[in-house]
Amino acid sequence: MIRYTFKRILLLIPILVGVSLFIFLAMDMAQGDYVDFLVNENTTPEQEAELRAKYGLDKPAIIRYFDYMGGMFRGDLGTSYLSGESVFDSFMHKIGNTTKLAIASTIVCVAISLPLGIYSAKHRGTIRDNISQFFAVLGLSIPNFWLGLMLIILFALKLGWLPSGGDEGFRSIILPALTVGTGHTAILMRTTRSSMLDTLNADYLRTARAKGLLESTVVNKHALKPAMIPILQVALSQFAACFGGASLTETVFSWPGVGKMIVDAVKQRDTPLVCGSLILKCTIISVIGLITDLLYVAVDPRVKTQYASSSHRKKKKTATEEEA
């Protein structure tokens, strides 16, 4: 198990190298660079060249890339052009907010899709099933930014119940979390529905009913727990996606998270900030992926015995040797 974790972490290195190379090249291909934002009609070409040399932008992209990577392997993710702050520090300032939003959206998503999926599976093929599925797909079909704007209009402008943006404590997180969360419900709801359909038809449910368990126990314990394996996987991958894809929502609600920071950095061609933040983001997403795999073990005993078998056997062996 430890070996497996270690292997997975080593695998992260080529991924990060690839991601950073891609970002560097993409940023280079984009029109203009950071210096173009600084110059105006009064700047002389000499001054402009000086500025370029200051930020190292006079060198070709590939050289800058190797410079940057050299720094990265020493633990230095570079310095933001714009703020002059280290990329790592800027990222750490904002990641808390993004994590908060990710957790809140995942809670919203799970709270909607799990009951809806179970309900849908229990009433499969009926009108109730179709209505539940309609709402789940509706969540997926509505664009995030539009739903965000509509929620702002309704709850912030018309009703005045909730703030329209910024970070003013718990109340500010409700609307962005609803926006991101509902966007993810369709997939999680359909996963819940299909894996519940599998377990609801399983022979062991008949055994559970024959024992004299109440129908609610049969469904919520005997059908749900084995169905949790794929549900958990999808829920966690959506949690990971919240780190990667909430930029739009963060912008709409001016939520001071990483997504908004990266979008702003791209606009200003702040290459070190973009690249460094994305590398950190990538690491977080991969670590969540690893945690997902490890959580499998907790839910599915069949996986646990596979991992445990070697160490368990050794323990048993030494025990019998001691007895002898």
Binding site: D203, R206, A210, G212, L213, D300, P301
Partner: protein
């Protein structure tokens, strides 16, 4: 009706409606099991044995299954088909329980075997979870599984051990009626013998009424008191073990015996029953066995036979016995 009857099934008729097809799985089946008696329910695959058993616990999925109105099932005097959720859960597992056919899929893969047994005890017996678990460990020992394997999961068990866990679940609360759906099919011969012994003990010690569903006429001869033979969803012969085995009346039952090896005459050729059982979604108008029956006449293909009483409790549904001016005797009985 008999006062001691623990399970009474009357006129049970079950059909399944799947994609516009109507599958008549069980047609007008009546049987009863009283205290301490074991009924062997025999017949080939698809004859409706398992459906009858599931109906007795009201476990038929509706839809697609439909239990027709005239059906009555009483478990310990209570009408199980009209029970609400709570009454059902009180009856299942405590008054009546079932050993399922396929041990590989009958256990939940994500709970330990002891937990799955304890759950049943906890649901019916007034005790703490810990006591229920302790009793589950005893149950495991009764079915021959050592205590230290109690916290293992079903996938760590062999097929035979899983079957024994399924049996332990069914027996956990000493049910008054036990339905065993081919409990020995998945087991090797030595374990089979143990399971049969276990069932005999139950019968003697707790006076459990049992229905044993099986293909194996040998096991029927070993532990059953009564026998009912099913064909295409109907009971076509019913009686005590002696009546059915020694004075077979129905040509189908005769066919079943003829397809068994004879221990006294090992050179005798087995005679299989020709043809296949009719498709239950398209049953013939007359006797369902007529197309395969060597005694069948034109009338058999047109008229549906009903169960007719013979000597004692013996009953059979065969038109040959009511043909005017003919004293019909099966070939199997002629030599005697």
């Amino acid at each position: 009706m008999n006062q001691e009857s623990l399970l009474e099934i009357e006129h049970l008729t079950v059909r399944f409606e799947v994609d516009g097809d109507v599958i008549r799985a069980v047609n007008d089946v009546s049987l009863s099991v009283s205290e301490g008696r074991t009924l062997g329910l025999v017949g080939e695959s698809g004859a409706g044995k398992t459906t009858t058993a599931l109906a007795a616990l009201h476990l038929i999925q509706q839809p697609p299954g439909i239990i027709e109105e005239q059906s009555r099932i009483r478990v310990c005097g209570k009408d199980i088909l009209n029970m609400n959720q709570r009454e059902l859960s009180r009856t299942r597992g405590a008054d009546i329980s079932m050993i399922f056919q396929d041990p590989m899929t009958s256990l939940n893969p994500v709970f330990t075997v002891a937990d799955q047994i304890a759950e049943s005890i906890y649901a019916h017996v007034d005790c703490t979870k810990k006591e229920a678990y302790e009793r589950a460990l005893n149950m495991l020992e009764i079915v021959g599984i050592p205590r230290d394997r109690a916290s293992e999961y079903p996938h760590q068990f062999s097929g035979g051990m899983k079957q024994r866990v399924v049996i332990a679940i069914a027996l956990a609360c000493n049910p008054k009626v036990l339905i065993a759906d081919e409990p020995t099919t998945a087991l090797d011969v030595t374990i089979q013998a143990q399971v049969i012994d276990l069932m005999k003990t139950l019968k003697q010690k707790y006076r459990t009424g049992m229905i044993l569903i099986t293909h194996d006429l040998g096991i029927v001869a070993d532990i059953c008191d009564d026998v009912a033979v099913m064909y295409a969803g109907r009971i076509i012969e019913q009686g005590t073990l002696r009546e059915v085995f020694n004075h077979t009346l129905h040509p189908y039952t005769e066919g079943l015996f003829n397809s068994l090896p004879d221990i006294k005459n090992r050179k005798a050729k087995l005679i299989p029953i020709p043809g296949l059982m009719p498709d239950p979604s398209n049953l013939p108008e007359g006797c369902a066995f007529a197309p395969r029956c060597r005694y069948a006449t034109e009338e058999c293909r047109k008229t549906l036979p009903v169960l007719q009483p013979f000597e004692g409790t013996h009953q059979t549904a065969c038109l040959a016995y009511s043909r005017p001016g003919e004293d019909f005797v099966l070939e199997r009985n002629r030599a005697k």
